[in-house]
C-alpha cells in the first residue's frame, strides 16, 4: 500500500467550535491504482484532498487520524519538510484550469519552478525536461508554448499544462480534484485519456475526486462513495457498477436521467445533505434513505464486508431496492406538430470587435450565424453544443435580451425582431427564461414573494390584489412551502432556488420557456428533482421548452427534438430518437461517443476528437468543423455544406452525408 489514510478527521473552525467536514475516513491507494472519491457537493471530498496535501484553508484544522505515504506519516511532518513532499512525492490538479495558473508568468516559468525546487534542474537541462513534459501531455509545438502566457492557451491546454506541472516532480501520487468538470465533453475525453495513459506509463497512484459517475466508470479501479463527511461504500469498479449496496449509491444511479427512463419520473433523493453544524447522531443518510429502519437513527452503522473488497456502512442487509416502478407521466400530451409556436429563421447575432481610440469596428464575433429552428406547442427542443458555440446567445436573442443582427423570430405569427416598448412587453408574456446559475439569478436583497411577483406586476399578468394568491399557488406548483414568501434567497439551497426561478418564469403563464442549462450547477439528485418538475409542468400546462444544454443524458431523458450547434450554426437537427440513435454528422457522433457513460460496458468505439472549438471571431473557411473532422475532404475546406434532409424531420449539414 502506497497511501494509507486512517481515520482522518478534518474540521473548520467556526467561532469556538470546530465543525467536522470529514469525519473518520480510511482508505488506501496502491501504486498504479486509481481510487475515486465520489459524492455530491458539500460531502467533504475536496477537504479530504486538501487535508492530504495539508493545504487546508486558514480555518481548516486536522483533528485526528493519520496519512502515511510509503510509511511516512505526513501529518507529523514539519511544514518545511512537507514542502519537499508537495509537488515531489504527491501532486495535485485543480478543477478550474483558468485560475490554477498564474496569469503573469509564462508556462515555462511555472513548470520550471517545480523542476528547480524538487529536481534542482535549471537552464538548458530544465528546458529540455519541460519540452519533454509538454510533449507527454500532448501539447503540439511545445517550443512555442513554453514561452506563452496562460491567456494564450485554451481551457483544455491550460489543464494539460497544469498536468505537466503536476508531473514535473515525478510524483508517486496524483490527486485530481474534479479535473474535467470545467471542460467540454470532447476536451474532457481527451484529458481523461491523457490521465489514464500517464498513470499506466508511470505507475502512479491517483486519487480522483468527482461527482460524475461517467468519469468514475471511465477511470477508477476502486471507488469510495462519500456522504456528509463519511465514506459509506468502498468497492471495486466491477462491484460498484453491478451491485451497488448502499441506498445512497443506488439512489445516485437511479437519479441519472437516461433514454430508458423517458416518460417516467426520475428517482430523487428527498431533502439535502445535512449541514456541518447539525449532523444527525445515527446514520447520516437516515433522513433521506428509502430503506430507513429505527436502528439507523440511533446508531451509526459499522463497516460490513458484503463480498471481499466490497465494504458498506449500512444497517440494511438487502441488496437492491424492491424495484418499485416509478410512476409514468401518463399525460404525454397529444402533441400537435402541425402548428408552430415559434419559428426562427436565419437568426444572426454578431458582436462587433472594436479597437483603437476611435473604437472602429475591426471584425465581428459570429456568435450566432444563421440559425433556423421551429418549436411546436408543448414540445421540448434541446439545443446542444459545447461552450462557446452560441447556444446561450440564441436563447437570449429569442427573448430579445440581445438584439439580433438579422433574421426573424416569429411567435405565433408575430415578428419579434425590432419590437420595442409596449408591444415588446406584451409579447414577453409568452416567452420566459430560466437561467443557469441559481445563485446569480435571484436578487439577494428581495424576498421570494417580491421576486416571483415582479413579473406579475410588470406585465400585469394577474388582476391587482390577486398577486399574493397567485404567488402562493405558484410556490405550491413548484413544490415549495407557503412560508417561503417572506424569506430571502440565501436561505434556500441550489435546487430550491432553481424552483423559485421556475416559479418566477411561470408567473406570467408563458407558452415557451427558454431553459439555459438549468441543472448544470446542481447535484445529480437535485437535477433529477428539477427535471421531474419541468416534465410535470409540461404535462400539466403544455409549456414548450427550448432546453439549452451540453448534457446528453438530460437531452435523452427530456427532449422531443434535438438541434446540435457548432460555432454559431446548427449542424444537425431532428427528432430526439433520430439524432441520438442515428447521428449522421461527424460532430454529433463524436459528441455522443465522448460522453462518459456510467456503465461498465461504455467506451467501445469511442471517436477521439482532436483540438478544441475554434474562436467564433474567425471561423474556419468551408465547413466550420473540418479542422477537427475525421472524415474531412477537400470540398469540406472550400464550401459550407448545404442542409441535407435525411428523413422528413431529420436534417444534417454535412458533405459526407450528402
Amino acid at each position: 500500500m502506497m497511501l494509507e489514510v486512517t481515520d482522518l478527521r478534518l474540521g473548520f473552525a467556526a467561532g469556538r467550535r470546530t465543525l467536522l467536514a470529514v469525519d473518520g475516513i480510511s482508505f488506501t491507494i496502491s501504486r498504479g491504482e486509481t481510487f475515486a472519491l465520489l459524492g455530491e457537493s458539500g460531502c467533504g471530498k475536496s477537504a479530504t484532498a486538501q487535508g492530504l496535501m495539508r493545504l487546508l484553508p486558514a480555518a481548516g484544522r486536522i483533528v485526528g487520524g493519520s496519512v502515511s505515504l510509503d510509511g511516512e506519516d505526513l501529518l507529523a511532518l514539519a511544514e518545511a519538510d512537507m514542502r519537499g513532499w508537495r509537488g515531489r512525492r504527491m501532486a495535485m490538479i485543480f478543477q478550474e484550469p483558468a485560475t490554477s495558473l498564474n496569469p503573469v508568468l509564462t508556462v515555462g516559468r511555472q513548470i520550471g519552478e517545480v523542476l528547480e525546487r524538487h529536481l534542482g534542474l535549471a537552464g538548458a537541462a530544465a528546458r529540455e525536461r519541460m519540452l519533454d513534459l509538454l510533449r507527454q501531455v500532448g501539447i503540439a509545438d511545445p517550443e512555442r508554448r513554453l514561452d506563452e502566457y496562460p491567456f494564450q492557451l485554451s481551457g483544455g491546454m491550460k489543464q494539460r499544462v497544469m498536468i505537466a506541472i503536476a508531473l514535473a516532480g515525478e510524483p508517486e501520487l496524483l490527486i485530481a480534484d474534479e479535473p474535467t468538470t470545467a471542460l467540454d465533453v470532447t476536451v474532457q475525453a481527451q484529458i481523461l485519456d491523457l490521465l489514464a495513459k500517464l498513470q499506466v506509463d508511470r505507475g502512479m497512484g491517483m486519487l480522483l475526486i468527482t461527482h460524475d459517475l461517467g468519469v468514475v466508470a471511465r477511470m477508477a479501479h476502486r471507488i469510495g462513495v462519500m456522504y456528509a463527511g463519511e465514506l459509506v461504500e468502498v468497492a471495486s469498479r466491477e462491484d460498484f457498477f453491478t451491485t451497488p449496496r448502499h441506498p445512497y449509491t443506488q439512489a445516485l444511479f437511479a437519479a441519472l436521467p437516461e433514454v430508458s427512463r423517458r416518460g417516467t419520473v426520475l428517482t430523487t433523493i428527498p431533502g439535502q445533505v445535512p449541514s456541518l453544524a447539525a449532523m444527525p447522531a445515527g446514520c447520516r443518510f437516515a433522513e433521506r434513505c428509502p430503506q430507513v429502519m429505527p436502528v439507523c437513527r440511533e446508531r451509526s452503522p459499522e463497516w460490513r464486508e458484503a463480498t471481499p473488497g466490497h465494504a458498506v456502512r449500512c444497517h440494511w442487509q438487502g441488496t437492491t431496492a424492491a424495484a418499485e416502478k416509478s410512476p409514468d407521466f401518463t399525460v404525454d400530451r397529444k402533441i400537435s406538430e402541425k402548428s408552430e409556436l415559434l419559428t426562427v429563421s436565419d437568426l444572426k447575432v454578431h458582436f462587433p470587435i472594436r479597437k483603437g481610440i476611435l473604437q472602429r469596428t475591426v471584425g465581428h464575433v459570429f456568435a450566432v450565424d444563421g440559425v433556423s429552428l421551429t418549436i411546436s406547442p408543448g414540445r421540448t427542443l434541446a439545443l446542444v453544443g459545447e461552450s462557446g458555440c452560441g447556444k446561450t446567445t440564441v436563447g437570449k436573442a429569442l427573448l430579445q435580451l440581445i438584439p439580433p443582427t438579422s433574421g426573424s423570430v416569429r411567435l405565433a405569427g408575430e415578428e419579434l425582431v425590432g419590437l420595442r416598448g409596449r408591444r415588446l412587453r406584451a409579447v414577453r408574456r409568452h416567452l420566459q427564461m430560466i437561467f443557469q446559475d441559481p445563485f446569480a439569478s435571484l436578487n439577494p436583497r428581495l424576498r421570494i414573494g417580491e421576486i416571483i411577483a415582479e413579473g406579475i406586476g410588470a406585465l400585469a399578468a394577474a388582476p391587482a390584489g390577486q398577486a399574493p394568491a397567485a404567488v402562493r399557488a405558484l410556490l405550491q406548483q413548484v413544490g415549495l412551502p407557503d412560508d417561503a414568501v417572506d424569506r430571502y434567497p440565501h436561505e434556500f439551497s441550489g435546487g430550491q432556488r432553481q424552483r423559485i426561478a421556475i416559479a418566477r418564469a411561470l408567473a406570467v403563464q408563458p407558452e415557451l420557456l427558454v431553459c439555459d442549462e438549468p441543472t448544470s450547477a446542481l447535484d445529480v439528485s437535485v437535477q433529477a428533482q428539477i427535471l421531474n418538475l419541468l416534465k410535470q409542468l409540461q404535462a400539466e400546462l403544455g409549456v414548450a421548452y427550448l432546453f439549452i444544454t451540453h448534457n446528453f443524458a438530460v437531452v435523452e431523458y427530456l427532449a422531443h427534438d434535438v438541434a446540435v450547434m457548432y460555432l454559431g450554426r446548427i449542424v444537425e437537427q431532428g427528432r430526439a430518437e433520430e439524432v441520438l440513435e442515428n447521428p449522421r454528422h461527424p460532430y454529433t457522433q463524436a459528441l455522443l461517443s465522448a460522453v462518459p457513460v456510467p456503465r461498465l460496458d461504455g467506451g467501445e468505439g469511442r471517436i477521439r476528437l482532436g483540438g478544441e472549438t475554434p474562436s467564433p471571431a474567425s471561423p474556419p473557411t468551408g465547413c466550420h468543423f473540418h479542422p477537427r473532422c475525421p472524415k474531412a475532404t477537400a470540398v469540406c475546406r472550400e464550401r459550407y455544406p448545404e442542409r441535407t434532409a435525411v428523413s422528413a424531420t431529420h436534417a444534417v449539414n454535412c458533405h459526407w452525408v450528402a
Binding site: L401, R428, M433, N443, R445, L446, H490, A501, A505
Partner: protein, 458 residues
C-alpha cells in the same frame, strides 16, 4: 432669565437634517434583515464599537455646538429688545468660563503665570520685568507652589466620581446582558466590553479635564489668550460638518452618475467617464483654491446678506463643503460604475429585463440595494479623508473663514510659534491629538464596516 433669540444657521439645518435622515436610515435598516445582519456584525466587532463610542462622543460635542442663539442685551424696559452681535451655541453655554476667561497671551498648560515676561509696576519696587500671574489660570491659589497638590486633589476626586459612575453603568449593562462574566469575556452579541472600556478611558480623561478646566487652562492658551481646550471643542463641529455635509453633496451625484454610466453604457457612459476623468486630472487644490477665492469675492461684496459674522463664516463653510463635494465624487462614481457593469450582466437583472421591467425600476429595485454596501463603506472612509483635507486647505489659507475655529486654522496659527524659543507646542499638539483621535476612530470604524459588509462574509 435672560431673553434670547434662536439663530438657525444653514449648517445647523443640514446637521440636524443629517441626524434625522441618519435615524430614518437606521429604521429602514432595522426592517431589512440582510442589512441588519451586517450592522449586527459591526456591533460585534470590538475595534468597531470602541471607535464608534469615540465618534459618538465627538458627535455629541458637534451637535451641542449646532444649536445657536443670540443673547438679549440689557436695555430699558419698553425699548425694542436688542440682541448681542455674538452668536453663541449650547456648547458655549455649557463650557461657560472656558470661552470668557481669556488671558493676555500665551500660557502653558496648567500654568499660573504668563509665558512671556512683562514690565509691571510694583508699588515700592518700581518697574520690574517678570512673568505676571494669570488673570484666571490658577488664580484661586495663594501660593503657586501648591499647584501640584491642588491639581492632584481635584483630579483624584473626579477620578473617584468617574469610577463610581462607570461601575453603575457597567452594572446596568451586565444586568441586562446576562451577567458580568458574559460581558467581560465578549460573549454578548454586541461588543459591550469594548464600549465599556472605551467609555472608561474617555471618562477618565475628560471628566478630570473638565473639573480642572474651571480653574486652569489645561491645554494652555493661544496668542490672544484664548483657551486651547475651548478651541478644540469648537473645531469638532467644523470637522464634522466638513466630513458629513460634503458627503451629502457628493453622494447623490456619485450614485446617480455611477449607476447611470454603468447601466446604460453607450454614449451616456462615455460622457460621464470623460467628465470625471477631466475633473480628476485638474489638480485638486488648485481647483478648490480658485473656487474658494471666487466665492470670497462674492461674499465680501455682499455684506448686506449677513446679519452676523457667524452667518458669513457659516456660509463660507458650506460653500467649502460644496466645492469639496463637487471635486470628490469621482472616486465613488468610478467604483459604482464598475460594480454596476458587473451587476447588470447578472441573471436576475436579465430576468427582470425579460419581464419588461422598466430601466429605472431595475436600477431602484435591483441595482441600488446591491450597491449599498459600497456606498456605506465609501461614506465612512471618505469622512476621515475630508476632515484631513479641511486641515490642509485651512493651513494653506483657502479653507474656512479665519474667524471660525477649525483644526486647520489652529495648526496654521500654531505653525509660526514652532520657530520660537522657548517653543509654544501645546496648541499644535492639542489640535493634532484631537484630530488624530477623530480620524483614527473614523478609520477603524470604516474598517469594521467594510469587514461586516464584505460579501464574502455575508
Amino acid at each position: 432669565m435672560m431673553g434670547f433669540q434662536i439663530v438657525v444657521l444653514w449648517s445647523d439645518v443640514l446637521v440636524w437634517l443629517l441626524l434625522a435622515s441618519g435615524i430614518g436610515v437606521g429604521v429602514l435598516i432595522a426592517r431589512s434583515p440582510p442589512l441588519l445582519a451586517a450592522w449586527r456584525r459591526v456591533g460585534a466587532s470590538r475595534a468597531g464599537m470602541a471607535s464608534a463610542t469615540v465618534l459618538l462622543a465627538f458627535l455629541c460635542v458637534g451637535l451641542l455646538d449646532s444649536l445657536h442663539y443670540r443673547v438679549a442685551l440689557d436695555g430699558k424696559p419698553g425699548d425694542k429688545t436688542q440682541y448681542a452681535i455674538e452668536v453663541l451655541s449650547v456648547l458655549d453655554a455649557l463650557v461657560g468660563p472656558l470661552r470668557t476667561e481669556n488671558e493676555k497671551t500665551y500660557s502653558a498648560p496648567f500654568a499660573t503665570h504668563l509665558y512671556a515676561k512683562e514690565t509691571v509696576d510694583r508699588p515700592g519696587l518700581g518697574t520690574v520685568r517678570e512673568f505676571p500671574r494669570l488673570k484666571f489660570g490658577g488664580a484661586h491659589l495663594d501660593d503657586p507652589a501648591t499647584l501640584a497638590d491642588d491639581v492632584g486633589v481635584t483630579a483624584f476626586r473626579s477620578v473617584a466620581l468617574v469610577t463610581l459612575g462607570w461601575l453603575a453603568l457597567a452594572g446596568v449593562v451586565a444586568l441586562r446582558c446576562g451577567g458580568w462574566r458574559a460581558v467581560w469575556r465578549g460573549e454578548t452579541a454586541f461588543a459591550w466590553n469594548a464600549v465599556l472600556a472605551t467609555l472608561a478611558v474617555i471618562l477618565l480623561v475628560l471628566v478630570p479635564l473638565f473639573a480642572l478646566a474651571g480653574q486652569y487652562h489645561v491645554f494652555g492658551t493661544d496668542k490672544v489668550g484664548q483657551d486651547v481646550l475651548y478651541q478644540i471643542f469648537k473645531s469638532v463641529r467644523t470637522a464634522l460638518i466638513i466630513g458629513l455635509v460634503t458627503t451629502l453633496v457628493m453622494l447623490p451625484v456619485a450614485v446617480l452618475l455611477g449607476i447611470v454610466a454603468g447601466y446604460f453604457r453607450g454614449w451616456v457612459d462615455d460622457l460621464i467617464q470623460y467628465l470625471y476623468t477631466v475633473l480628476n486630472s485638474i489638480p485638486g487644490v488648485l481647483l478648490i483654491a480658485a473656487a474658494v477665492l471666487m466665492m470670497q469675492v462674492v461674499i465680501d461684496s455682499h455684506p448686506e446678506w449677513f446679519a452676523t459674522a457667524a452667518e458669513r463664516a457659516d456660509l463660507r463653510l458650506l460653500a467649502l463643503c460644496f466645492i469639496l463635494g463637487i471635486t470628490s465624487w469621482t472616486g465613488l462614481c468610478r467604483l459604482l460604475r464598475g460594480e454596476t457593469l458587473k451587476l447588470r450582466e447578472l441573471e436576475y437583472i436579465q430576468a427582470a429585463q425579460a419581464f419588461g421591467v422598466s430601466n429605472w425600476r431595475i436600477i431602484l429595485r435591483h441595482i441600488l440595494p446591491n450597491l449599498m454596501h459600497i456606498v456605506i463603506i465609501a461614506l465612512v472612509m471618505d469622512f476621515s479623508g475630508l476632515v484631513l483635507a479641511e486641515a490642509v486647505l485651512s493651513y494653506v489659507g483657502i479653507g474656512v473663514d479665519p474667524t471660525m475655529t477649525s483644526f486647520g486654522t489652529m495648526i496654521n496659527n500654531a505653525r509660526m510659534e514652532l520657530g520660537r524659543e522657548p517653543v509654544v507646542w501645546w496648541s499644535l499638539v492639542a489640535a493634532f491629538s484631537a484630530m488624530f483621535i477623530l480620524v483614527l476612530a473614523a478609520n477603524l470604524f470604516a474598517d469594521a464596516v467594510r469587514d461586516a459588509f464584505d460579501p464574502r462574509v455575508a
